[in-house]
Subunit: 341 residues, 4 copies
C-alpha cells in the first residue's frame, strides 16, 4: 500500500533524526533555555535576514495559532480570516476557546483578496455601532493556503499595507511554508516574506520534523509575558530541546528548503500524471497538495491500494480527494500510482 | 559539569529512541489513529490490569492537567488541590485560563490528608450560600507530590472513598509516576493505583521519553467529544505516533519501571551521601527528588561544578535546593558529587 | 424633538412603574427568592400554557443570550445562528467570550430557512473531519428578527423538527417578542411558540420594563447549577424583585400584549405614512421597526427635528435608517412626523 | 415579621424612586449616553474632588468586580485578594470564569495587612520560577470588608504605596462604601479614598438604589475598549438611564452619605442592644453588618419572628449570625427586636 494521505505520514527526515540521536545524552536546561534552541533561533534569524526577529518554538500548528492570536489580541478584538481558513473551520474552535471571535470574510481558493480585506475594515470603522461589535485586531492568512494556493508578492505587499494602515498585525500561518517557498509559482523568498508580516511560523511537523513549529516575531515584538502564557496554554515543553534540535538541523545547510523542493517535484509529477491520465483537477494547486476529482466507484477501487484523503463531495457521483506529497514521498510511489490509474 | 538540575535534562532513554528510529519511515495515519498508539494503549491497559481503561496521549504535563480537568468539570465547578499542588502554583494559571477555579486546601509535605478533604467538602455543602460559591467538582493529587512524597495505599483508599461518597472524580497527576512506584517506600502497585482513582496519567517526559504523557481513564470514562476538545486545546499532535511509539517502548518488557528503579537507586545513594556529609535534608523524600539545605556561600561554590535547582529560601544564610535523579543519572556522577562535597 | 430612535428611549410603562412604587418598601429575600418573582413565574407559565416551564429573570438581552447559550452548550459545541443574528454581530463577541463559536449560516431578511439549517447540519455530520470542527450544539433564532421579520408557524415547526431530529435545542431570542406576537402578520400565539422551542425569552427592556428579560425553559430543562452560573456571569441581581415585580405587572391582565399591540398600530401608521409620502421601504417589516431609504441630504435635514437610527449605507447618495415605535410612542408624534416629511 | 436579613431587602430609597418616576417619560438615547448618566458622573466626580475621574455604571457588584478585574489584567496576570474576599469565595468563580486566578493571601477580619501584601509580592518576584506562575497584576480589597471592618487611612496609604512600588493598580470594592464612610470609626473621606486607589466603586444596590454601582477610575484610566467589553460581558444596559438617574439622585444634596449615616446609627443601636442583653459579638464591626453569636435553640426561636442571616457555625451549640441595617431600617424595628431578645 502506498500513501499520499497527508504530509505527516512518516517520522522525521533522516537528517533531523540523526541530530536527535547525536544530541540525545547531552544534558541541558529545560523549557527552551538550551543551546540547541538558541542555535536554531540564530540560524532562522539568519535565514530570514531579519536580525531583529525573535523565534519561539511550539509543538503543533493549532497550538501555535491559538497562542499567537490570543497573546496578540486584546479582550475585545477578533482575528480576521478567510471563511475557509484553518482557524475558522478545522481547529475545533481553538481561537474561540480563548475568548476571541474569528471574523470570517469571503476568500477565493483559500486566499483573501486585498480589496475584500479593505472593504471589511472600512465597513467596520464606518459602522455607527462598531463599539457593539468585535474589533478586528489582526489578520490571519495561510501560506500556502488550505487549498494549496499561494499569495503573490504583490498581493502580500498590498495586504500588509492595509494592515499597516489600520495598525493591526498580519500573521501568516506557515504550517507548510517550505512547500510554498519551494513552489515554482512562488515569487517570494523567506526574507521577503519576513518583511511583509509581523509574525509568521515555519512549519516543522509537515516539513521534516517529528513535531514543532518555529514562530518568528519579525521585529522584536514577542508579546509580553510570553513564557508564562506559553505555560498557561500547556504549550511549554519541559524538553524544549526536542524542537530546538530539529529546527537546528532543518536550518543547517539549507535542509528545510531542499526537502521542500523534493516534495514539490513529486507534486508536479503527480499533477502531470493526473492530467496525462485525464483526471480533472479541482483547482490548480502549485504546492504539495493536489486536489483531484474522482468518480466514486473508481475512487473506491483505488482506495484499496492507495491512501489519500476525502476532501469534499463534488456531485452525486464524484468526489474531490487530496493527494499530498512531502519530503518522504518517493518517485517509485508516483510510478506505482501511475500503474494503478 | 555534572547535572542534577532536573529529571528532564537528557533526551530519550536509548531503548525509546531506538524504537523511534526503527519505526521512522513507516507511513501511518495521523492524530493518534495509528498502530503504535493502539499497541501502546493495549500494553498500558495490560500493565494496569484494567481492561476497561481508555488511554489518551498528550505532549506534556501542564497540558494534560488542563485538558483532563477542563473536560471533566462543568462550568460552575472547580478542582480541589493542595495549596502546593502543581496546578495551584506552577502552571501559569492554566486551569483558571479554562474558566475554572483551583480550590486550594492545606496540605502537608505536598499531600492532602483525608480529613482535610472531608472537612472541606462538608463545610462547602453545609454552607447556606454554597450556590454562590464554586462547587468542588473533582479532586487533584500528585503521586509523587511536588515534594517527592507518596500517599500510602491506606491514604489513597481513604481519599478515593471520600470522592466516591461525594460523587466527584479523583485525578492523579503522575508526571513522575514511575519514580513513585519504584520507591522502596511505596506500598502501591500500578494496578492498585488504577483501582483507586478515576483518571491518572503516566508521565513520560520525566521518565524516559522525549515528550509525552499517557492519560488513563480507568473505567471507560473518557469525556465526550474528547478528540475535538484535544484539538481545541491545541493538544492533538498531527504525528500522534511520536508519543505512541515511545510509550509502546516504555511498556515493553517492563522498561518503564526498570528505568524508574534505576533513578531511585541513584536518589538513595544521593540521599545517603548528603546524610554522610552532614547536609541536612529539608524533608525526607522517598523518590527521585532530594531537597537539601545548603549554606549560601557553599551553595555558590558548588554551583560552579554541579547543576541543581533553587527551591526556596530557608533562612538568611541558607537555601533549600533540589537534586533530581532520573533514568539518565550515572553512578559516576554521584561519585563526582561526593568528591566535591 | 420627537424620537423614533429605538424602543428603549423611555423608562417603564406607567402600569409597571406603579407596581414598583407600590411594592417598594416590602422587605423580601434577595437573589430572586421573593414572592414577586414567584408570582411572575406563575403568571408567565400560565400565559404560555406550559405548566412544565421554568422561568428565570435576567437584566438584559445580551446577558441572557450569553448565559443561556453558554450554560446549554458543552465545551466543544457552538451555536448555529444567521450571519445577521444579534449574537453573531452586535454583542461584542459575548458568546465567543465564553469560549463558544457562533456557527454563522446564511439567512434571508434575518431569517434562517429550514433547508439552510438542514443542509448545514447534514454537511457537518457527513464531513469526515468533523471531529476537528466545532459541533453544532444548539440553534439560535430571533423573533422578531433583527430586521423586524417573523417566522411563520410552518417555518418554526420545520426548524424545530430539524432540531429534534439532530437532538439539539432551539433557542428563540425574544427581545422584542411582544412586537412579534402583536403583529397582524403573526400566525403564532405565545403558547404555540413555547411548544416549538426548548428555551426562549420574553423581552422586557424593549416592551415596557425598565430592564429585564424572562427566560422560559419550556420543559423543566433549566441547566444544572443555574444559580451559580448566573452568579458566575455577574447576572444575579441582589434585588431580584426589580425584575420580578415588573414582569408580574406585565403579565397581569394582558398588559404585555396590550402595549405591544399599541406599538404595532403606531408602526403601521408609520409605514403607511412612508408609503404615502413616497419613501421606499428597505424591506417590508411587519413589526415595530421600520426600515426606510432616505436621500442623504433629506436625511440630514430631517435629523434636526426627529431622532432615528442609522442602519446602513444604501448607495452613494442614500442611507437605510430605522424608525422604531414602542409602548411609549404617541399618535401625535406620528402626526408631527407626517408634517415634517 | 421584622427583617435584618440583608441590606437589600427593600426597593429604592424614596428620594431615588421619586426621580425615576419624574424622569420616566423623558426620551433619551440608550447605553449610558444620556443626560442623567452625564449628570451623575459630574456629581460623583465633584464629590470625589477628582476632576480626572471617569465614572461608569454597572448593574451589580459581582459584575463590576468581574468587569473591572478582567479589563485591567493582562492574560497572564491574577488579582491578589484576601482569602475571605468576595471575589475569592462568594462570586461563583466569576473572576476565574474570565481566565484569571485570584491569588489568595491571608487576611485578618477581612483585611489585608500591608506587610502580608509586601511579603507576597517580594516572594513572587524573588522566586526563580516566577515565569511559571501567575503574575500578581492588581490588588483587590473591600471597604468595608466582608466582615464589616474598615481600613484606616494609614493602612490604605501603605497598601497603595506598595501597589505604586510594584506598579500594579489597587481596586477597592465599595459595595457598601457609604456604610464605611459613614462609620464613626472611619478616618477617611470619599476624596481621600479616591486619592488612595486606581479604581473603586460606589455601591448603589445596598445603599439606596434598586440596582447599580458606579465605578470610578480615578485618573483618566478607563481601560481601552470599555464599551465593547461592557457589552461583551452582557453588562451594558440598553436603558443606561436606570442607573444614571438613581446615582444622580443619590449624589444630589448629599443623599448618599445621609442615608448611610442613618444605617450606621441603626447599627450602633443594634450593637448596643446585643451588648446590653449579653449576646457576644463575633467581632467588633464598626459598620452596618453586626455579627452575633447565638445559642442554637435560641436562634431557632428568634428566627420565627425576625429575619437574619446564617454566617457560619461557631461551635456545636452556637452559630454566628448576621444582622444588617440599611437606609430602610426603622428605629421601631430595633425596638421590636429589643422586646424579643
Amino acid at each position: 500500500m502506498i500513501s499520499f494521505e497527508s504530509d505527516y505520514i512518516c517520522g522525521a527526515h533522516p537528517g533531523v533524526l540523526e541530530r536527535l540521536v547525536e544530541t540525545n545524552m547531552v544534558p541541558v536546561s529545560g523549557y527552551g533555555c538550551d543551546p540547541f534552541c538558541h542555535s536554531a533561533e540564530e540560524k532562522i534569524r539568519a535565514a530570514c535576514q531579519c536580525p531583529e526577529a525573535q523565534v519561539r518554538f511550539i509543538t503543533g500548528g493549532t497550538q501555535t495559532n491559538q497562542l499567537v492570536i490570543s497573546t496578540i489580541l486584546t479582550n475585545y478584538q477578533g482575528v480576521v480570516a478567510a471563511r475557509t481558513g484553518h482557524v475558522s473551520t478545522h481547529e475545533g474552535g481553538a481561537i474561540e476557546y480563548t475568548g476571541h471571535k474569528v471574523l470570517e470574510i469571503e476568500g477565493k481558493d483559500g486566499k483573501i483578496a486585498p480589496d475584500t480585506l479593505r472593504g471589511f475594515l472600512q465597513t467596520f470603522w464606518n459602522d455607527g455601532n462598531h463599539e457593539h461589535m468585535v474589533e478586528p485586531g489582526m489578520v490571519y492568512i495561510s501560506f500556502p493556503t488550505e487549498y494549496g494556493t499561494l499569495y503573490t508578492k504583490k498581493e502580500l505587499t498590498e495586504l500588509y499595507a492595509i494592515c499597516r494602515e489600520y495598525e493591526i498585525p498580519l500573521f501568516i500561518d506557515g504550517a507548510r511554508l517550505g512547500y510554498g517557498l519551494a513552489s515554482s509559482s512562488c515569487d517570494l523568498t523567506l526574507p521577503e516574506l519576513a518583511q511583509l508580516c509581523d509574525v509568521f511560523y515555519i512549519g516543522g511537523t509537515k516539513v521534516g520534523a517529528l513535531c514543532g513549529e518555529a514562530v518568528v516575531f519579525t521585529h522584536n515584538n514577542v508579546p509580553k509575558g510570553w513564557v508564562t502564557q506559553q505555560k498557561q496554554h500547556g504549550a511549554l515543553l519541559a524538553k524544549g530541546r526536542l524542537i530546538g534540535v530539529q529546527f537546528d538541523a532543518l536550518f543547517t545547510e539549507g535542509l528545510y528548503l531542499e526537502i521542500s523542493r523534493h516534495a514539490i517535484r513529486m507534486a508536479e509529477q503527480l499533477k502531470q500524471l493526473f492530467l496525462d491520465k485525464g483526471y480533472p483537477l479541482f483547482l490548480d494547486s502549485p504546492t504539495n497538495q493536489q486536489f483531484v476529482i474522482l468518480e466514486n466507484t473508481a475512487m473506491e477501487e483505488l482506495k484499496k491500494q492507495v491512501a489519500f484523503s476525502f476532501w469534499e463531495a463534488y456531485d452525486e457521483t464524484h468526489t474531490v480527494v487530496r493527494f499530498a506529497t512531502s519530503w518522504s514521498t518517493k518517485e517509485e510511489e508516483i510510478q506505482l500510482l501511475a500503474d494503478l490509474l
